[in-house]
Amino acid sequence: MKINLDVDVHHLTRVEGHGNIRVAVKDGEIREARWDVVETPRFFEVMLKGKHYTTAGILTARICGICSIGHCLASLRATEQALGVTIPETAAKLRLLAKHGETLQSHWLHLFFLAAPDFVGLPSALPLLEVKPEVVHIARRLKGAGNRLCDLVAGRTTHPVALQPGGVARMPPREKLLALRDELQRSFEDIGATAALFGTFAIPAFQRETEFVSLKGETEYPWIGGRLISTDGVEHDESDYLQMTNEYVDTRNTSKWCRLSRPSFAVGALARYNNNYRLLHPDAARAAEQFGLAPVCHNPFMNNVAQLVECIHVTHEAIRLIDELVQEGPVETMTEVTPRAGVGVGAVEVPRGILYHHYEYDEEGYIIRANCIIPTTQNNANIHQDLPALAKNFAVDGMTDEKLELLCSMLVRAYDPCVSCSVH
């Protein structure tokens, strides 16, 4: 039987930003299979020119409403590298704690509100409020704990205020840190229930051999700074990020595309897992095993599972960091910053993958040139390359336009794309 299928999704739902999916199968042959980003460009790199070093982190946080803390941290790292600033150790811990808060709020948002509805046949998580309120309450508590952690450490969860050049504006009150520690400790029960729920979801059986890029952890699962690594064996210094990204312009996309050893590569939770699984907390490693997640995993739908595994790891890490922070007496969390001419690169693992900011400053501390390479920019070509393979895999008897549309949409959502970020 000759199979004919047609998928045409304009402005895919349950993702951040605007992208389109187009798949056409004629007489069993893939005629077209595309992922195109049509988001409006904002020209952040141009706007950064001439801005003061104290403005860069505030401005670039606005690249993304979900991972604004990650953007701010990558920006601060680039600035501090350029201006030769070493932040106090306590400030580094606070920044990592804010980062963990962001990972939790972002991953839980994606898992419950963006990804899960597809696995239970709902258009969104909103109807669950009527039919399964307990699931919404679990989601609310888990995501809420992540947001409260961001609020406490960064001053606000969207567009942080306390993360500034030189460190972190202030140490959160000890009693508030301890209250959040209790909340995180209690959240393991909800996390267990979530893992049980996700264990009932049928993850599509699909594989496409892919190169995965992330920071390389040395002694800890990596989040802020360090060497860059790929599962194809490429390794570079943070400052040589351009050799890891190789951005180029595609005529039909407002997001750029990236390539490395192959025509595309992937970043994100699955990439971090594939490169750094040895450094996970034992509870997180155990969860990965229970879900059948094993390195190197080439099923992009397993990025959902990798996010869940990271939530377990990060919850443990956040508790450990709070324990260390409350031991410290009154300590300095800011160091003085003196402008100078210089160049700096900051690489940070944000929820959707590795993010790079790169600035050149003049001697008065104003930006001459800026470059930002966003995780979803790195993933867009890979999503585009996945689609023909996915269509080929599922263009079999019994497949319908609706089922294929759902599979394609689920594939894109599994990457948790931040499309407006990717265009910036």
């Binding site: 606005r62 306390a162 407006s420």
Partner: protein, 250 residues
């Protein structure tokens, strides 16, 4: 959700995003402690970022983002014809926000710098009031969810909402937040509309003016004080123009 046994209206709301970071609509799903009550007070008929459902007509269209391309103009006009009430959600929609900073640069040059020989379509950034009639503007980068909740309460009980006339400064005093000028930082709190509960100064950062001007702001006095405190005109001007919400030259 009833108060004194009376059933309030449950407005049908649709959320649409234009040129933005989508951080304002994300606030609608934040403040988890009251999320269930918030969602039960309104009826969400369209919200692309979190739902695939399209449940038809809406009374209120919440618009996030600024307008930067011809297709956005068309999309916004189409929404205006369907919405009884059109609301600008956040600083980009109300004032252009950080997206408007690009207007200070040559856009053809900017395009060449970012996209090389394959430029992408882009127009100077405009707030949505420059394209369609706007019924209510809720500023903030991002919007304050607590304020959005207050506005929704007014909408369902049919009582007009008034934004505070006072500046952010007043809320810092209420919170016992030490003035950011005393920490050697520039702060626009004295000229910026309050109602956000001053999270930035409390978190250690001077105000950047995302909510637009307070009623009758004394710009001249603000600039005099900022200069006295040693801030250069370049710094003052960069700050005031950041969100495009305070139309004044330093």
């Amino acid at each position: 959700m009833k108060y004194l046994g009376i059933e309030p209206g449950r407005p049908r709301i649709a959320v649409f995003d234009f040129t933005s970071c989508e951080g304002c609509e994300l606030q609608l799903a934040n403040k988890e402690e009251t999320l269930a009550e918030f969602l039960s007070a309104i009826s969400i008929v369209r919200f692309r970022e979190v739902s695939s459902a399209d449940e038809g007509d809406y009374d209120i269209a919440l618009i996030e983002g600024a307008i930067t391309r011809a297709d956005e103009v068309e999309r916004l006009r189409a929404i205006r014809t369907k919405a009884k009430v059109l609301v600008a959600l956040g600083t980009c929609a109300c004032y252009g926000g950080v997206a408007k900073l690009k207007n200070a640069y040559d856009l053809a040059e900017a395009n060449r710098e970012v996209y090389g020989s394959d430029p992408k379509e882009t127009l100077p950034t405009r707030p949505i009031r420059d394209v369609v009639t706007v019924d209510l503007e809720i500023p903030g980068c991002p919007v304050s969810k607590a304020e959005v909740e207050r506005i929704v309460q007014h909408v369902i009980w049919n009582i007009p909402f008034k934004f505070p006339a006072y500046p952010v400064c007043l809320e810092c005093k209420q919170l016992y937040t030490v003035c950011r000028f005393e920490h050697g930082q520039l702060c626009l709190g004295s000229i910026t509309r309050g109602g956000c509960e001053a999270p930035c100064p409390a978190g250690g950062l001077g105000c950047w003016g995302c909510r637009g001007p307070a009623t009758d702001p004394n710009f001249e006095e603000f600039i005099t004080i900022a200069r006295e405190r040693g801030f250069s005109d370049r710094e003052i001007s960069e700050r005031i123009n950041f969100f495009g919400a305070l139309e004044v030259a330093a």
